[in-house]
Symmetry: C2
Subunit: 434 residues, 2 copies
C-alpha cells in the first residue's frame, strides 16, 4: 500500500476505554439495567439523531452552542444531548398505543460539544428511567424512582444517600415574598450556594430585590435537612402559603411510600434544586454516602408536563438518571475495580503439537460448559504458551499432553497455588466455576 | 405553556422499536454478546464520531455521499459508517499496549445516509467480532470466527448454514487468465451472478476481455459448492496457479480446525465473494439454512492488513459480523417472537385501599426475589386493577386482602387457568419462577 499514513487519533474530549476498563464499565451498566428490568421498566432505544426542530423545541429552535447540529440534504438534524427530549417525542408520537403509566428506561450515549474539562466528556452515557402518566400520576411513582436510585447503587454495592426536596416549598416561600416572577433567578443563586461565598450569594439575592432578612430566611430554608419529622417540624411553622404547604404534604406522602418500599437512605434536604427548569415538584439527588461535596452521581425529579412542546395532552412524569460516565471516573479513582481479577479468560489451554486437535476440541467443550477457555495458537512452544498464560494473569490452565488425551483426564493447574490435579472435563468445569 | 406545538416525528429512514419489540431485540443482542464473551472476546466501545481524516482514509479523504459528515468549530468529523475503521484506528493507537491476538467485539450503531428502502436503515446495529494478529495470524482464527458465527445462531435457536470460500482461489484463477489487473471488476460481476441474468454477466465478462470459454469456466468455478472433499476433488484438477493452490490449502486447513471445533454447518461455496475489497483470503457468509435466496444475515473474512492507513506495522485480521437489524426484520416477518408471552411484568399485585401499604411492601419483597412484580397504583378500584392485569396479558396476579395480610399468605391467581392458591411469599416466588 502506498498511502501516506494518517496519525490514528480519537476526537478530543471523547471517551474511550481500554478493554479491561470497558469490561468493568459494561458490568456497571448491566447491573443497572437489571435493576431497571426488575422494577418493570421497558427498554427504549431512540435514534441518536433527531430533527433539530424537535430536539431544540425547548430553546425555541435557537441553536444551542453545545449541540452537534448539521444538515444533510435539506434535513436539519441534531445529535441528542439528553434522553429526555427524545422520550417526550416518542411518547407524544405513540401516546395512543402505549400503556400508561409508561415506565421506560434508556441507556445510551448523548452528545454535548462543550469545552473538554476534567470529568466532562463530549460523548457520555446516561442511564435514565422515567414514569410517564396519562393526565395524572400518583406520588407513588416519585417514591418508586427514588427507591430505584437506591437500588441501582445497592446493586453496585456502593453506599449511597438520596437527598430529596420539593420545588414547591421554595416556590411557595418565594411567592410569599412577592417575587414569584424572579423564581428562576432566585433558584439559580440558591443552587450554587455550595460553590460561591455566602456574601456573594446574598449580594445576588439583594440585586433580585430580597431584603437582608429575606435573604437570611431563604438561605436558612435551603439549609434545612434531616428526616421527614424534623424537616416538617421546622418548616410547618415557617410559612402558610398553599404551594409551600402542598410541597411539604408531597414530601410526607412520598416518605410514607418510601418506608413501605424499604428505603433507608433518604435525607430530606431543601438545598436540592437541580438545574433543569422543567422540574416542578419532587427533586432528588444521589451522593456517595457522607460525601455530598463530591457532587451528585445521580438525580431526578417530577415534571408536570413532559410533552408540552408536542401535544396538548397533559403527561406528568417523574424520572431518575445515573451519571454513569462520571460515576465510573470516580470509581476508577477510588480503586473500586480490581483489575488483577478481571480477565476475559477463565482458563488457558496449554497443548503440545501432537495434541493440538484434541485441545481445540477441549476448548470447545469447556466453552460449551460456560468456561471461557482459550488456546494460545499463536504461541508455538509449551514454554511460550505458559509464559502467555502468566502474562495474561490467568487463574487456571489446563495442560493437554498425550497421556491426558488417552485417559480423558487433563492436568488442571491453579496458577496462584501451583497445585495440579488430573481431572475430567466435568471436574474441571466444577472446579473453575466453584 | 403558550408554545406553538411541534409535530413529533422521528427522522425518515431511522429505526425505532416499540417496547415489546425492543425487549425482543435487546434479547437477541444480549444472547450474541454472551456468545462473544464466552469465546474470550473483549468489549470495545469507540465513539460514534471520528475525525473525517481517519474515517474516510480509505476513500483518500473524499466525502462519501452516504456518510454523515460535518464540522464543529474547526473540526471536520463523521459519524461512523461501520465498526471496522474505528477498530483499525483504536488498534493502531494502542498497538503497544494491547495483547495480541487482540480479540474484540463491538455491538453498536452505525450511520449511512443512503436512500431509505425496505430493510435498509440510516442508523442500524452491527455486531462485530474480530481477531487481530501481530505480524501473523494462524488460520485457527478464521475457523474460530466461522464457528463463532454458527454459535451466535445456535444461541438464538436459528438454523444457519455458513458458506465459506477463499478469495485466493478466484484470484489465482484470474491470474492464469492474465487478467489480474481487472480482478476487482471481475469480482463485481461474479458477486452479482444471483441478481442479474447469466447472459448479462457473460456480456460484462466479455467486455473485461474474457473469452467465451473463460467466461464459462470462471462462472462454473463460482458454482462449485459442497463439502471440503468434493470441492477439492473438483478444483485440484482445474488449476495449478500457486495462489489458487494456496487458497485451496487454506480452506483445507480451516476445515480441519472447524471439525475439531465441532462445526457442522459449513458448506464450501465459491460464489461467496463479499463486496469489501479489503478481504484477501477466507470469506464467509451465514444464511438461514436452505434459504440462500433470502440473502446473508452474517458474514466475515480475513484481511491482510487492517491498519495499513495508520501504521506500517502489519496486522492481519479476521472478523465476523451479524447484521442484527436486518436479522430482526426477517425474524419479525417469520413470527419468530411470541409477543403474547413477552411482558415486562411477571406478576400484578391487586390490592384494596386498606392493604395498599402492605402491597407496596410485597411488591418490594417480590422484586427483591427476582420477580418483576407491579402494583397498579393508578387504578383505583379492585375491578379496574383486575382489568389492567388482563389488559396487560399477565400470567399471574397476587391478591392482597386484609386476611391475606394477617396470615401472610396471599392469593396467587394463575390468569390462564384461573386457579387460585393461598401462598407465602417464598411459595409465590417458587411458583412463578418454576
Amino acid at each position: 500500500m502506498e498511502n501516506k499514513l494518517i496519525t490514528p487519533r480519537k476526537l478530543q474530549g471523547f471517551w474511550e476505554l481500554m478493554p479491561k476498563e470497558q469490561m468493568c464499565f459494561s458490568n456497571l451498566i448491566n447491573k443497572i439495567e437489571e435493576v431497571f428490568k426488575n422494577n418493570c421498566f421497558v427498554p427504549l432505544d431512540t435514534p441518536v439523531l433527531e430533527y433539530s426542530e424537535a430536539l431544540l423545541a425547548k430553546s425555541g429552535g435557537e441553536t444551542d452552542k453545545e449541540v452537534y447540529r448539521f444538515t444533510k440534504g435539506s434535513t436539519d438534524m441534531c445529535m441528542r444531548y439528553d434522553l429526555t427530549v427524545p422520550l417526550a417525542r416518542f411518547v407524544s408520537m405513540h401516546k395512543d398505543e402505549l400503556t400508561f403509566p409508561f415506565k421506560r428506561y434508556q441507556i445510551g450515549k448523548v452528545y454535548r460539544g462543550e469545552r473538554p474539562q476534567k470529568g466532562r466528556y463530549r460523548e457520555f452515557y446516561q442511564c435514565d428511567a422515567d414514569i410517564i402518566g396519562n393526565e395524572a400520576l400518583s406520588y407513588v411513582a416519585d417514591a418508586e424512582c427514588i427507591r430505584l436510585l437506591e437500588k441501582c447503587f445497592e446493586a453496585l454495592n456502593i453506599d449511597v444517600e438520596v437527598r430529596v426536596s420539593s420545588r414547591k416549598i421554595l416556590n411557595g416561600y418565594v411567592e410569599t415574598l412577592g417575587k414569584l416572577d424572579r423564581i428562576n433567578d432566585i433558584l439559580i443563586v440558591l443552587d450554587k450556594l455550595d460553590k460561591i461565598p455566602l456574601e456573594e450569594a446574598k449580594l445576588q439575592l439583594k440585586e433580585i430585590g430580597l431584603s437582608e432578612k429575606e435573604q437570611n430566611n431563604i438561605i436558612e430554608l435551603t439549609q434545612t435537612t434531616g428526616n421527614i419529622e424534623s424537616v416538617c417540624k421546622k418548616l410547618e411553622k415557617m410559612c402558610q402559603n398553599s404551594t409551600f404547604v402542598e410541597g411539604l404534604e408531597n414530601l410526607k406522602e412520598v416518605d410514607s411510600y418510601l418506608k413501605n418500599l424499604g428505603s433507608k437512605r433518604v435525607i430530606y434536604d431543601l438545598s436540592i434544586i437541580r438545574g433543569h427548569n422543567y422540574y416542578t415538584s419532587i427533586v432528588f439527588e444521589g451522593f456517595f454516602a457522607g460525601k455530598k461535596n463530591l457532587g451528585a452521581i445521580a438525580g431526578g425529579g417530577r415534571f408536570d408536563n413532559l410533552c408540552g412542546y408536542f401535544t396538548d395532552k397533559k403527561m406528568p412524569g417523574v424520572g431518575m438518571s445515573v451519571g454513569i460516565t462520571r460515576l465510573f471516573s470516580h470509581l476508577m479513582q477510588e480503586n473500586y475495580f480490581n483489575f488483577d481479577q478481571i480477565s476475559e479468560i477463565d482458563c488457558g489451554i496449554i497443548n503440545f503439537d501432537e495434541t493440538f486437535a484434541e485441545s481445540l476440541a477441549l476448548e470447545e467443550e469447556l466453552r460449551k460448559n460456560g468456561i471461557r477457555a482459550e488456546i494460545f495458537y499463536e504461541n508455538k512452544s509449551f514454554k511460550s504458551k505458559m509464559k502467555e498464560a502468566n502474562r495474561r494473569n490467568l487463574k487456571y490452565v489446563v495442560i493437554v499432553g498425550e497421556n491426558e488425551v488417552k485417559e480423558k483426564k487433563y492436568t488442571l493447574k491453579d496458577m496462584e497455588t501451583s497445585n495440579q490435579s488430573q481431572l475430567s472435563v466435568a471436574e474441571i468445569v466444577k472446579t473453575i466455576k466453584g
